[in-house]
């Protein structure tokens, strides 16, 4: 029964991925194709870009990404806990609380260190 459901997901994924490709191929057949260097320049209708866009950027984004990874992993670990919640006892609940609190103190640490300030 479960394999049947995932079979649909597989077929769905295949068609959902092919569909935009096929549509783009179709528009490639019917659309005009008259490229020229001006049209293909970056930010065509605006002021010319000064320098390359692929430059070093601020570490701030990395900082947020790191905190995100920590908390997202927490969510991934908590989902099985939430599913099995009816079957586990007080001990598992205590452990989950400890787990969440540890990350919560991590968040407070990051907060106090100023990692959450957007400048």
């Amino acid at each position: 029964m479960i394999a049947q459901q995932y079979g649909l997901v597989g077929v769905f994924a295949l068609i959902a991925f092919l569909f935009p490709i096929v549509t783009l191929a179709f528009t490639w057949l019917i659309r005009p194709k008259r490229p020229n260097p001006i049209k293909q320049s970056t930010y065509e209708c605006g002021i010319e870009t000064v320098g390359d866009a692929w430059v070093q950027f601020r570490a701030q984004y990395y900082l947020f990404a790191l905190i995100f990874v920590v908390f997202d992993l927490e969510a991934i670990f908590l989902f099985p806990f939430a599913v099995a919640f009816n079957k586990v006892g007080w001990f598992a609940l205590f452990e989950a609380i400890l787990f969440v609190l540890m990350l919560f103190f991590g968040l407070i640490y990051a907060w106090k260190k100023g990692a959450l300030e957007w400048q």
């Binding site: 049947q4 459901q5 077929v11 769905f12 959902a16 783009l24 939430a82 009816n86 907060w111």
Partner: protein, 399 residues
């Protein structure tokens, strides 16, 4: 009247024709896929019309009214126009990533339609990890936008792409925590089971009544996840022109546009399923087909709410938005999750009826909400006082 029985009758009919079991399954999957995909693409056209018309009316305009009755054919005209437009790829762009991004954007949003339960067991794939599946494909959409922003090799697009990372990833934390609460209450990640678990107490079992603060939190985080005002920082026209999709034209732009509207609908559908009882409603156990009506009613109500907010509110500043997520929503969602876990466990151990547990959960939610609001209010007051001190006070002219 049961939609599910139509599907089962169809399978029985195919088997009666003497087709081997494997082919019957494959035909069934293909048919289900095509129905859901066709539905999703038609829905996108309807949603675009609906949102434009609603925004028009709210802002005292007419909205689309030229093509067809009430402008109903406007999205079709737009789609045809976009189909025949020239597609420009900037010479400097990273071609593979640039072309892959809109495809992934459409792919991720269509995949999410596969697990939404439209009525009891009327669902593409009734899988047992539904909530996790939705989160996984939701994160894939962020990837598509980052790819688009990076590959365009345009400074505005790159800034938009980075804002996507900052905003959508940040708001994914509270939304994941809040989506975990219905999972905790029901004990299953299957979306159909979660909708079924809200059937008790004649509609008072909906998790929006049990966990109102969690629902509000989901609403706010969903506004950010759906890139909608007041959180549409990543496409702020006045700051970064259009954000990650600035270099896209023709059909590739249309795919991003479609993904944006369907994303809002999916967020509404998830809100309806997790908090508003999904297909639950009066008489749904006797006439299962009514579930479709209830589900769409709730989903379009949520969509209307999102469109209303988008047409009404101004945009936030990016530092305000990030601070609001990490300093308000994340601690609040953790508090709600832990409170719900402790109360539900207590209720199980002491064998309380659901009404008692639900009532206590409600009280806990109200307390968390009030504490959060009072802390926010106090913070805002101190901020105002500081600003008032710094205000420039001109000298009065001497008479």
């Amino acid at each position: 009247m049961d939609l599910r029985s139509i599907g089962e009758a169809f399978i029985a009919w195919l088997q009666g024709l003497g087709i081997p079991q494997g082919w019957v399954l494959l035909i069934n999957w293909l048919l289900g896929t095509l129905i859901i995909l066709g539905f999703a693409l038609t829905l996108a056209l309807v949603l675009i019309w609906l949102e434009r018309k609603l925004a028009g009316r709210i802002q005292d305009r007419l909205g689309p009214n030229r093509v067809g009755p009430f402008g109903l054919l406007q999205p079709i005209a737009d789609a045809l126009k976009l189909l025949t437009k020239e597609d420009i790829t900037p010479a400097d762009a990273d071609r593979i990533t640039y072309n892959l991004a809109p495809i992934i954007a459409v792919f991720h949003i269509l995949m999410m339609f596969a697990v939404i339960p439209f009525a009891d067991r009327v669902v593409g794939a009734n899988i047992n990890v539904g909530v996790l599946y939705l989160m996984a494909f939701g994160a894939l959409g962020t990837m598509a936008m980052l790819m688009a922003g990076w590959a365009s090799r345009n400074k505005y697009a790159l800034l938009g792409g980075f804002r996507v990372v900052a905003q959508l990833f940040s708001y994914e934390i509270p939304i994941a925590m809040v989506m975990m609460i219905p999972v905790l209450l029901v004990g299953s990640m299957n979306l159909n089971e979660i909708a079924r678990g809200q059937g008790s107490l004649f509609g008072l079992g909906w998790f929006v009544w049990v966990m109102p603060a969690a629902f509000l939190l989901y609403l706010v985080a969903a506004l950010a996840e759906g890139e909608r005002a007041p959180f549409d920082l990543l496409e702020a026209e006045s700051e970064i022109v259009a954000g990650y999709n600035i270099e896209y034209s023709a059909m590739k732009f249309a795919w991003f546009y479609l993904a944006f509207f369907l994303n809002t609908w999916i967020l509404s559908a998830v809100a309806a399923t997790l908090f508003l009882g999904g297909w639950q409603g009066p008489f749904v156990d006797r006439i299962p087909a009514l579930g479709v009506v209830y589900f769409f009613g709730k989903t379009f109500f949520m969509f209307f709410l999102f469109a209303w907010i988008r047409a009404t509110f101004p945009r936030l500043r990016i530092d305000q938005m990030m601070a609001f997520c990490w300093k308000v929503l994340v601690p609040m969602s953790l508090a709600l999750l832990l409170g719900a876990a402790i109360l539900v466990k207590l209720g199980q151990q002491l064998a309380w009826p659901f009404a008692v547990t639900g009532g206590l959960l409600f009280v806990m939610n109200v307390v968390v909400l009030l504490v959060t609001l009072s802390l926010l209010g106090r913070y805002t007051r101190t901020l105002h006082q500081q600003q008032n001190k710094r205000l420039f006070t001109p000298e009065l002219p001497r008479l």
